[in-house]
Symmetry: C2
Subunit: 159 residues, 2 copies
Amino acid sequence: MDTAEDEKFMRLAIALAESNITSLAGGPFGAVIVKDGQIVAQSGNQVLTLKDPTAHAEISAIRQACENLGSFDLTGCTIYTSCEPCPMCLGAIYWAHIDKVYYGNTRTDAAAAGFDDEHIYKELEKPIPGRVLNMNHLLREEAIRAFTLWGKTDEKQNY
Amino acid sequence: MDTAEDEKFMRLAIALAESNITSLAGGPFGAVIVKDGQIVAQSGNQVLTLKDPTAHAEISAIRQACENLGSFDLTGCTIYTSCEPCPMCLGAIYWAHIDKVYYGNTRTDAAAAGFDDEHIYKELEKPIPGRVLNMNHLLREEAIRAFTLWGKTDEKQNY
């Protein structure tokens, strides 16, 4: 059940997206992360100002929230994002263990506005040899050693 | 056609993965980015030391390469990664316009070693209502304004 609180945080994410259009910091996207009713991070897309293709609104907000909370684990947090997350950002949401996502625009809306989200979703669904991206398997027999060693390490920390 | 150069860069990525096991900086993953035969970035996974769930080896290397090259666009670059990229990192590779990927371990190897890559790939393939992650559509009619405004803006820069 969406509440007036949820709408308030989504409207802030939308306002961040709109303010990016005049600031030219990046694309028209914004995200807000909330824990226990308090905002722990908020960001617009910063790809252009930071010259960082990973600085989407959600990634920037996740990094900021982790810094503010002193943890790589955002369990108990909700993210409000002005658009359905792209595969990069959705992956980050899983790795951060965020519990709940609210989104405004869809990936189809993003595609219509000229962004690659839908294209990337389709690429990821294809088997590796069928993708536009050139991907090659190399030296697996040497690479697997790292996982074997990891498996034998007692003091490792899961994330 | 893989060359001795390709194997050299992949072995460096694997060495970065292995050194992470003793340093405990993060999981056993490493990545190297090369442009015109020169290394422009190299990183292990840094999730634990940076307390940043997005600091996978590939994302960290992409951010470093963009800083070193002064651009959000890595067209002409190849990434060598000790493991098939997870959806977050593969998404970042598309956004960065990296041309070519070499990977050592597979997502199945990563799953066997206890990492969520395969789980996240499967989640992304599901329709939103069928996912484990709680995702909700909210205020689309207000969110779409940002894309409408973006479409009317002349000075926008694509990324």
